[in-house]
């Protein structure tokens, strides 16, 4: 699996965990089953990390927290992204 595909898989998992309590519970109880049921594909390392999430880790995970982080980083990452679009 490519790095990009892995990122998008995990991103989609996190986005759903924020808005879907049942899915969040399922990830905490049995991530492999929850991911499989949802059709998500993540890397072995990402699965290992998800397996070790605890309920208290996710208490602060709210749409507001994610929005805050993304809004603050939106401008500052532009330059980095732009510079990555160079020829090899």
């Amino acid at each position: 699996m490519s790095e990009r595909a892995a990122f998008e898989g995990l991103k989609a998992v996190v986005e759903r965990m924020v808005t879907d309590d049942e899915f969040k519970k399922a990830i905490l109880e049995n991530p492999e089953e929850a991911l499989s049921a949802g059709g998500y594909e993540v890397s072995a390392e990402e699965l290992f990390a998800l397996k070790n999430l605890k309920a208290e880790d996710l208490e602060g995970l709210t749409p507001e927290l994610i929005d805050e982080r993304l809004s603050k980083s939106a401008g500052i990452y532009q330059l980095t992204i732009y510079e990555d679009n160079i020829k090899s």
């Binding site: 995990l10 990402e46 603050k72 500052i76 510079e83 090899s88």
Partner: protein, 357 residues
């Protein structure tokens, strides 16, 4: 938003020397460094070659930036480094002041051996133009374009200088597009602290995550720092290691568990400062740090002996470590730190090789 891939770019400081003495230089580079003794401060070619090979083998970094000082002062090493990196499939950029492009003929002569170069990034603004006229920048831009090398312009500005950027865009308009000009404020660091007045600097939003710390930089002596900011004062939490003791992939890999580095990437220096203040208010109540910009504040945090000591202490806090690892997974979709936290049960501080006191 695209993911800001961590450490996919890496910079080499080929030399700390510069032929210019710009008033705003955050690296404090200067011709005063150009004595014979200072030549020993250049990155040895054999080390550069070995480190490029290590980077290529790591399969993590895809772009190498060559910087300084002024990297064209060590021209033979620059040409060797660019060629070697390109042969190994790495994209390359060089940051220069274009002093070598006093005519289009000279510009072509300097750039022809660098045809493998991906991007030529040229610094020009009121400070550089005290030494290097814009006509030379145009020569370099034209020659690079002829050779198929992309050009970026790095323009630094002070408060209320929007007009200068617009003027530069007009002056270069027939050679490059406005999107190729990267404008950034002058940071109140290095020589700029001494040469410019405090109210000339653009006051930036302090409360932002740091993107610069995605790009580590290798100094000529083999020290690897998490960013190009002026924290090259030996031991501090952004010193990732030294290539005399470990290979480049090992140093980069170890930085995956550097709590302070990743806190900065997640939330930035302002929140780190607030965190320290909330927990160590007695130790910090009389300390004043420069809050002109994120970089100024971060530099203060990393160089003040009290804050450095507190940061080392904080980096060993299991709660902050876990919180940082979890937030990397959830907010940046980076799993390595949390995976290792669980594999090793506890993370240890991966800053410098010896205690930071």
């Amino acid at each position: 938003m695209k993911k800001p891939f961590f450490q996919t770019r890496l910079a080499f400081t080929l030399t700390p020397r510069c032929n210019l003495h710009c008033r705003h230089c955050l690296a404090d580079a200067s011709p005063a460094w150009s004595s014979n003794a200072a030549l020993e401060l250049d990155m040895p070619l054999r080390d550069l070659q070995r480190w490029i090979d290590e980077v290529a083998s790591s399969q993590k970094v895809h772009t190498i930036s060559f910087t300084g000082g002024e990297p064209f002062l060590v021209y033979d090493n620059l040409v060797d480094g660019v060629s070697r990196a390109a042969q190994r499939g790495l994209a390359t950029t060089v940051l220069t002041n274009a002093y070598w492009a006093s005519s289009i003929k000279r510009a072509r002569a300097y750039l022809s051996p660098l045809q493998a170069l991906g991007t030529l990034k040229i610094s020009t603004d009121e400070f550089h133009q005290e030494f290097v006229p814009l006509a030379w920048v145009k020569n370099a831009t034209q020659a690079a374009t002829e050779l198929g090398i992309q050009v970026r312009i790095k323009f630094c500005y002070l408060e209320n200088q929007e007009g200068k950027l617009a003027a530069l865009e007009r002056q270069l308009g027939n050679l490059i597009s406005n999107e190729q000009i990267n404008a950034e404020p002058v940071y109140r660091l290095g020589r700029a602290i001494r040469e410019l007045k405090a109210d000339q600097f653009v006051k930036g939003d302090l409360d932002q995550p740091c993107a610069v710390a995605n790009v580590p930089i290798v100094q000529p002596d083999g020290s690897v720092y998490a960013c190009c900011g002026p924290t090259f004062d030996g031991q501090n939490p952004l010193l990732l290691g030294n290539l005399g003791r470990r290979s480049l992939p090992e140093v980069l890999d170890a930085s995956e568990t550097n709590v302070i580095l990743h806190f900065l990437r997640l939330w930035g220096p302002f929140r780190l400062w607030k965190l320290l203040c909330s927990e160590y208010s007695d130790s910090l109540k009389s300390l004043k740090l420069d809050t002109t910009s994120m970089c100024s504040l971060c530099s203060g945090l990393m160089t003040n002996h009290v804050t450095k000591m507190l940061l080392v202490k904080k980096a060993q806090d299991p709660s902050l470590t876990r919180q940082t690892a979890v937030q990397r997974l959830l907010l940046l979709q980076e799993a390595t730190m949390l995976a290792r936290l669980n594999a090793n049960n506890v993370l240890r501080f991966e800053g410098g090789a010896s205690p930071i006191i």
